[in-house]
């Protein structure tokens, strides 16, 4: 390509002309790439006397040197000014130093000496010692060439020593005033920004450059390899976890599952793929293993079911079959939280259990929701879907308020599910649905150890649930403890409130369920809401190990105001049966303005 003038910068006091060959590489760059750059710099501002106008020429290397020199000089000048500010303003001026304070005097003489350019370097406004001591920018050119430099001559004058760029005339340096310096800097900066230039092949240059480049290339290679390895390594552990889990899920013993601590890490990792379903299942399984014992057979069954495909479509919801409903629910939630899936898996396990004993649902539930931040709407949607087969009562809207209603029929389902010898499918359905409901609602209810306003919002929907809950309670009384606990939990689940707390407290063993039911029974008989009350009251009940009430803490203004209206048992008097184990969980007591009573177990966390 022909040599062409491709850039000309013409600030007022100088002209920078650039020539070079435009490289074909410019096509792929947003800036022109030029090789064999030649420049012509003319310092020829109108204020400069003609005889002092100079023109310098050079190649790319010299241009870069000039740019570096000028740039760093300007920066240093600015920094220097700042230091002087610092010196002058923050510390008393030293009378002996030629600081600006002295120079700033208004007498013309002082001004003259201050601002007048002096031939000798270093004198000027700034403290001479300081300037001399500072390493002014010098180009790092090879030793073959004299170096370029800029030396200040006071604040406003700057001597540019041209070094190798000196024209053949005697002038090896020129004095620039600040304006010219500014323009020069500006022109050079513009060139740097706008144009990429290809380094020329220069033997001397290559020698100095090559080792550096080799080192850089090696470093880049190492970084790339490392990054690749990291990526590969990240993938392989996941794969290994998932394969391990799928193997485990096929095993029958929960102990083996419990021994897989890695599975617990999987829910955050896996998402939405069948392998991840396995992993989540394994996670839930391990939780279940920790929660209860001796149910390995049921878990094995649940595993088999759960390990079937996850990605069922909603069409299958219309089909009967425990597996389908469970899976649908699972898949529906599968796109939501991992924990939801866990919940579903927990349900499915319950479903498996229901083949034998529906009681296990309850027992399994504590484990499953342990991780659940389950949004109620998600659960509701699931519920409505899953309830399609033959459980019309389960069909509910997806509104949060519907949770209460949807929970209501669950007891009715539970009862037939528990007692009837329905085909496995149906009982599985109901058990599954119910357990799903319970598990879904449990987290919401537990997390929404809610502030009073949310309780108020939930009170109305609770009204219907309350009646059914009573019925269920009665029904459950005839069952053994786990069942009653489940029923109790279902009723309490009917109180699920709109805003689930993201952090779900851990549910512990069934031991506290008995006591909770007792508390609930007690208050149901005792609670007489005063006429003036229009809000629910919340209390935290702290128990002693022997079952007596240690403390009843009112939560909220209403509770404090109406505390006397609540027949709280005296501290220390026998209240509920003693707690087995070491857990004396606090309980949350809700007393509705309409006479409803709800009791929840609080976490000890």
């Amino acid at each position: 390509m022909a040599v062409a003038v491709f850039r000309r910068y013409t600030p007022p006091t100088c002209t920078l002309e650039l020539r070079g060959e435009r490289s074909p590489l410019s096509v792929w760059s947003d800036r022109p790439i030029v090789k064999q750059v030649q420049f012509i710099l003319s310092i020829d501002g109108p204020q400069r006397p003609v005889e002092q106008r100079i023109t310098i020429k050079g190649g790319r290397t010299q241009l870069d040197h000039l740019h570096t020199v000028v740039n760093s000089y300007v920066q240093q000048t600015l920094n220097l000014s700042a230091s002087q500010f610092q010196t002058r303003l923050l510390h008393p001026p030293n009378a002996n130093s030629r600081s600006l304070s002295e120079v700033g005097e208004q007498s013309p003489n002082a001004v003259n000496t201050a601002f007048e350019p002096t031939p000798t370097a270093g004198q000027g406004l700034a403290a001479p010692g300081r300037i001399r001591d500072m390493r002014w920018s010098r180009s790092r050119s090879s030793s073959l060439q004299p170096s370029m430099a800029l030396i200040p001559k006071g604040l406003l004058k700057h001597e540019l020593q041209l070094g190798e760029l000196a024209p053949h005339s005697a002038d090896a340096s020129t004095i620039l005033n600040t304006t010219e310096l500014f323009d020069l800097v500006h022109a050079l900066e513009s060139y740097k920004e706008e144009v990429d230039s290809i380094p020329e092949l220069n033997p001397a240059q290559d020698r100095s450059v090559m080792p550096w480049m080799k080192g850089a290339a090696v470093a880049v290679l190492a970084v790339g390899v490392t990054a690749t390895l990291v990526n590969v390594l990240e993938l392989t552990p996941k794969a290994s976890f998932e394969s391990a889990d799928s193997q485990l899920s096929n095993q029958a013993t929960e102990q083996e599952l419990a021994q897989q601590p890695t599975t617990l890490e999987l829910p955050p990792v896996a998402s939405g793929a069948p392998p991840s379903a396995d992993s989540s299942l394994s996670t839930v399984e391990s939780e279940v293993a920790e929660a209860e014992e001796g149910k390995s057979k049921l878990i094995a069954e649940a595993d088999d079911e759960a390990s079937s495909e996850v990605d069922q479509t909603s069409e299958k919801a219309s089909q009967e079959g425990e597996e389908n409903t469970g899976e649908i629910a699972q898949s529906q939630l599968g796109n939501r939280n991992q924990p939801n899936r866990n919940q579903q898996n927990g349900q499915r396990r319950n479903q498996g259990n229901s083949n034998g004993n529906a009681n296990n649902e309850v027992a399994l539930l504590p484990a499953a929701p342990g991780q659940l931040p389950a949004p109620i709407s998600g659960s509701s949607a699931t519920r409505s879907q899953a309830s399609a087969p033959g459980n019309s009562t389960l069909n509910r809207a997806t509104a949060p308020g519907s949770v209460a209603r949807s929970s209501a029929p669950s007891p009715s389902l539970a009862s037939p599910g528990a007692s009837a010898t329905n085909p496995i499918d149906q009982s599985g359905d109901s058990a599954l649905a119910e357990s799903r409901l319970e598990a879904a609602e449990l987290p919401s209810e537990l997390t929404s150890i809610p502030p009073i306003p949310s309780i108020e919002s939930g009170i109305d929907p609770l009204a219907d649930a309350g009646d059914i809950a009573v019925a269920q309670r009665q029904a459950s009384v005839s069952n053994d403890a786990p069942q009653s606990a489940r029923a109790g939990r279902t009723t309490t689940s009917g109180e699920s409130i709109a805003s689930p707390d993201p952090k779900l407290p851990q549910i512990y063993s069934d031991n506290a369920e008995t006591q909770r039911t007792q508390v609930q029974t007690y208050f149901e008989s005792e609670w007489q809401p005063p006429e003036a009350l229009n809000q629910a009251l919340q209390f935290r009940l702290i128990f002693n190990e022997d079952g007596s009430l240690q403390q009843a803490i009112p939560l909220g203004e209403s509770a404090r105001s109406y505390r006397s209206d609540v027949n709280l048992p005296a501290s220390g008097t026998p209240f509920v049966s003693p707690f087995s184990g070491n857990d004396t969980p606090p309980m949350r007591l809700f007393l509705g303005a309409n006479g409803q009573v709800r009791v929840f177990l609080e976490s000890l966390d």
Partner: protein, 171 residues
């Protein structure tokens, strides 16, 4: 960060004095640069500038990086707008210096120096250091600095200068 705050405030003060830039212009610059979340209104701007330890009231507020950056960008943006004026002022100063005349002689520089001194005395904590001579020198130095900050990459320079200050030991 003490010196940075002081420096930022002084640079803006110099710009104000020379070009008569008020807070409206500064806020407008903030809007142009999309910095209104940091410099939302006059009060916010005042607070940022009030952070300078040289001010009366000793500048209580700490300046965080985003705030400092915003001030830098606003300052350089405004300086860039005033580049012609700055160039003229500096050229004038150079000429006067060469001729050995006092800068006050000219209207442009004289007004600038007077405004700078008055505003400085109004806002800053006055100590013995701040005689009018000091202020004149300070004003002129700031003028030159502003000239360089008005370049397209001026904000880079200002930022580098500020950092350099904070690293350099006092004195």
């Amino acid at each position: 960060m003490d010196n940075i705050k002081a420096q930022l405030d002084l640079v803006l003060l110099a710009l104000e004095s020379l070009a008569g830039i008020g807070s409206e212009a500064m806020l407008e610059a903030a809007a142009d640069l999309k910095l209104t979340n940091i410099v939302a209104d006059r009060v916010a701007l005042w607070r940022l500038r009030q952070a300078s330890p040289l001010r009366k009231g000793k500048g209580r507020k700490r300046l965080d990086v985003d705030e400092a950056r915003s001030l830098v960008l606003i300052t350089c943006h405004l300086a860039n707008q005033q580049q012609e004026l700055l160039r003229r002022a500096v050229a004038l100063l150079e000429r006067l210096t060469e001729e050995g005349q006092a800068p006050h002689r000219t209207a442009l520089l004289g007004d600038y120096l007077d405004t700078f001194s008055n505003t400085y005395e109004e806002r800053m904590e006055l100590t013995d250091v701040h005689s009018s001579d000091h202020l004149t020198g300070l004003a002129l130095k700031l003028l030159i600095d502003l000239f360089f900050y008005s370049a397209p990459n001026g904000s880079k320079r200002l930022w580098a200068t500020l950092l350099e200050r904070s690293l350099a030991p006092p004195g």
